[in-house]
């Protein structure tokens, strides 16, 4: 069925079981890394050099990126993503009251705390055996739809956008800039830019119209977020069983007002990123190779149907399929599964190239999930976090990030993965604005202040690269906003029916027996899970897998590089330069930044004539 590498098969009823006759089913052989080719190149070619830099002093990020580029050949020989910071959240949470987790895990990041709070609450609901009343579910859905109106535009216009701006392109690709001045846009009536040069000038960092608007347009969703949930980005109102916020007609109206105001902006964004993508493709089809990698993606789904979600693991396959964002795994462009049980079963974390001890010697406590599906020792419910600081060694250990894999294959996470799984699944519940067609997501967007009602459609792309990641993210802004819109209307309906309860009223106590739970959710950057185990009323294990953990992962024991590393190594150097002194590495930055938020690159360049070293930094979300 869906697993090619794990020792799992399915019976005629679709129940998973370990393959028969395999003595040590989850055993694997670590493949030694072979750097001999790179070392040979380094030894014999003066224009290829390998220099390692730690994150540079004035940058506070938690992850650096190192690559060796041959400027004569225009290719990247080797790439390494290095998590430089150990946060230890998973260690801190052990032994605590589980209700601490939604507050503690929320502080892992300076912008996306709300998603961790909710994910943690979902895990606890499963462990405690409680659900959420419909209004509570609706309020959670609105919260995260608002959250993404802050995260995604900040990335598109403030972080990624400058890579396509006049000041950058004029320097890195002068001929492209000349064409931009002569190229008329396709939809000036939608966004107001007559030429591509006008549009790219609006992306100029700190001064461009789109940059400043991107900053300004985080205000309406933040205002709504603060009104509904108390504060952004670390809400105190998210709890297992729902939320503690007070919902009134007034706050719902204020939220709706801000959503409709943002809709107008989101519509324009779709046209802007369509224009940008097509312009670059038309200029040079090789731009389709920038940041390309296999079409292998994962998403845990999010935005529950408030009448379907029951908080149980047994029901996860059903309520997962009822989400507005369908969970799923895509391999080679094909949707393999939407079943949360399958997604969970296939998940493993490896630490062979990370600064952690293995834990296999201790055995593993959970050979199956609560539904009886087989799990291996590297599954998050069995994994332990055992830090082991070490010297950096490219063949051995070089990062604090782990290597999560699904079915032992490299998958990437992102808002775009959510778009892809939802589009391919065709399972989205009926709603007023969105339709999943099997190949696309159609969005029926109401009339807004400056733009008419329109139908927009994100189609699963033929090629997968940096431009498509950004384009999908622009559609994701609109998509998530429409999910929020739908849920505000549902909240009005519920209020009209007197269904005002926002948190469970089922009496419960913290269980004293052994329990497990998992939160399947999503961040603005994509896939998010929190796995917990508890006993005697306290947490015995807590494991967080973030989108950055997937994307920034190092080489796994099977010799497969992580998504950032793979995308950079596949990137052609299309920048125009005459010597190493002129080289900025813009193609590499576009590749890395397209993965989004937790991977904003800060440029640190030590370039000689033909040698380039890049250090990129990220936030600590992907760190343990």
């Amino acid at each position: 069925m869906c697993f090619q590498n794990l020792p799992v098969e399915f019976d005629a009823q679709g129940n998973a079981r370990l393959k028969e006759g395999v003595t040590d089913p989850y055993a694997y052989q670590k493949r030694d890394l072979d750097r001999s080719q790179v070392e040979k190149l380094l030894a014999s070619n003066g224009h290829v050099k390998d220099i390692n830099l730690d994150p540079v002093t004035r940058v506070a990020g938690a992850l650096s990126f190192h690559c060796v580029v041959d400027l004569e050949e225009g290719r990247v020989h080797e790439a390494h993503t290095i998590g430089t910071l150990f946060r230890g959240y998973e260690v801190i949470l052990k032994g605590r009251d589980p209700r601490d987790a939604q507050y503690i895990s929320s502080r892992v990041c300076g912008v996306c705390g709300g998603v961790h709070s909710v994910c943690s609450s979902l895990a606890m609901e499963m462990a405690f055996g409680i659900g959420v009343p419909p209004m509570g579910g609706v309020m959670r859905n609105i919260q995260l739809a608002l959250d993404f109106q802050i995260d995604n535009p900040v990335h598109l216009y403030l972080l990624a956008g400058p890579d396509f701006s006049q000041v950058v392109v004029e320097r890195t690709n002068p001929s492209l800039w000349e064409r931009a001045k002569k190229t008329e846009t396709r939809h000036p009536d939608m966004h107001g830019f007559r030429t591509m040069a006008d549009l790219m000038t609006a992306f100029n960092p700190l001064t461009g119209k789109l940059y400043l608007e991107g900053l300004q347009m985080t205000r309406p969703p933040k205002e709504a977020y603060a009104t509904l949930y108390g504060k952004y980005p670390h809400p105190q109102t998210v709890v297992p069983g729902g939320v503690t916020t007070t919902v009134s007609l007034q706050v719902l109206n204020e939220t709706l007002l801000r959503i409709t105001r943002t809709l107008d902006y989101a519509k324009r964004g779709v046209f802007i990123f369509d224009e940008l993508t097509e312009f670059f493709y038309d200029d040079d089809p090789r731009y389709k190779q920038v940041g390309t990698r296999a079409k292998n993606l994962i998403d845990a789904g999010m935005w529950d149907d408030p009448w379907a979600y029951d908080g149980t693991y047994a029901g996860a396959a059903e309520w997962g399929d009822r989400r507005w964002a369908t969970p799923g795994v895509v391999m080679d462009g094909e949707l393999l599964t939407t079943n949360l049980h399958h997604i969970n079963m296939g998940l493993e974390e490896f630490v062979e190239h990370s600064y952690y001890e293995g834990w296999e010697a201790d055995g593993y406590p959970y050979p199956t999930d609560p539904a009886g599906n087989p799990l291996g020792p590297n599954h998050p419910w069995n994994k332990e976090t055992k830090p082991r600081p070490d010297k950096r060694n490219w063949k051995d250990r070089y990062t604090w990030s782990t290597a999560p894999r699904w079915d032992r294959q490299v998958v990437e996470a992102g808002a775009y993965a959510r778009m892809w799984t939802t589009a391919a699944a065709g399972k989205m519940p009926h709603n007023r604005f969105l339709e999943s067609t099997g190949t696309s997501v159609k969005m029926d967007v109401p009339q807004t202040a400056s733009l008419p009602a329109m139908e927009l459609e994100w189609k699963i792309p033929e090629t997968w690269n940096a431009f498509e990641r950004n384009r999908a993210r622009a559609y994701h802004v609109l998509y998530s906003l429409l999910v929020g819109y739908e849920n505000v209307l549902l909240a009005f309906d519920l209020m009209g029916q007197g269904e005002n309860k926002v948190a469970t009223t089922t009496e419960f106590t913290i269980p004293r027996d052994e329990r497990r739970g998992v939160g399947f959710w999503g961040a603005g950057r994509g896939f998010l899970t929190h796995h917990l185990t508890m006993d005697k009323g306290v947490l015995t294990n807590y494991q967080i897998v973030t989108p950055s953990t997937f994307n920034a992962s190092p080489v796994d024991p099977f010799g497969q590089v992580g998504p950032y590393e793979e995308a950079v190594m596949n990137t052609p150097i299309l920048e125009e330069f005459t010597s190493g002194e002129d080289f900025t590495g813009i193609d590499i930055f576009r590749a890395i930044r397209s993965f989004d938020p937790c991977m904003p690159c800060t440029v640190h360049v030590a370039n000689g004539d033909n040698m380039v070293i890049r250090d990129a930094t990220t936030c600590a979300c992907g760190a343990e």
Binding site: R58, V59, A60, G61, A62, F86, R87, G88, Y89, V91, I92, I104, R107, C109, G110, V111, C112, G113, I150, V154, H155, L158, L159, P162, P205, L206, T207, L215, T218, R219, K222, Y232, P233, H234, P597, C598, M599, P600, C601, T602, V603, T617, T618, C619, A620, C621
Partner: protein
């Protein structure tokens, strides 16, 4: 650890803010100091806030403050190569940061990195900070993690609280903005 009641003439609205991550060993010192200060009895002109989130958003929130803050005292933990395990106090004078420096900081702050220098540079660029900004920093011993402070950092908490109290009370250092 309650700071004593503040008396005296304040320059106007004053903000005391802790910058940093929580549950991160000594790197969380600043937030724990601001937590301790929150318990104090302050005049209405003084706000003590947890600024442990992205500088981009902090800067926007500060710019929106009405009336504007006339003095900002920021608490942080930063490795600057000074003697570790000590508190440092320094003025953060007004100025216009280089645009490239601002954008470099935006890359990280927009993605959730929390850092005093990010806040100072982004805050200055967006005119979110008054002229009168003071930082009180701990130079940490490296490598502490976990949910508790080291013994030496814990011992500095009362000193930091007192240092901030004095900064709040200090006479106006610059022209009050209108």
């Amino acid at each position: 650890m309650m700071p004593t009641v503040v008396e005296g003439t304040l320059p106007g609205r004053v903000l005391v803010g802790g910058v940093g991550y929580r549950w991160f060993g000594d790197a969380s010192f600043a937030l724990l100091v601001s937590d301790a200060l929150t318990d104090g009895a302050w005049p209405v002109e003084v706000d003590v806030l947890d600024l442990g989130y992205g500088a981009l958003h902090v800067a926007m929130d500060l710019r929106d403050a009405k009336p504007a803050y006339e003095r900002v005292i920021l608490l942080a933990v930063t490795e600057r190569g000074r003697a570790p395990g000590r508190l440092y106090r320094f003025d953060c004078p007004p100025g216009t940061p280089q645009l490239q420096d601002v954008q470099d900081r935006m890359y990280e702050a927009g993605a959730g990195v929390i850092d005093l220098d990010h806040l100072l540079i982004i805050g200055r660029h967006f005119d979110a900070l008054p002229d009168d900004v003071v930082a009180v920093e701990l130079e940490p011993h490296g490598g502490t993690t976990g949910d508790r402070l080291s013994t030496s950092a814990q011992a500095l908490l009362p000193d930091a609280v007192e240092l901030v109290r004095r900064e709040v009370l200090a006479p106006a250092r610059s022209r009050v903005r209108i």
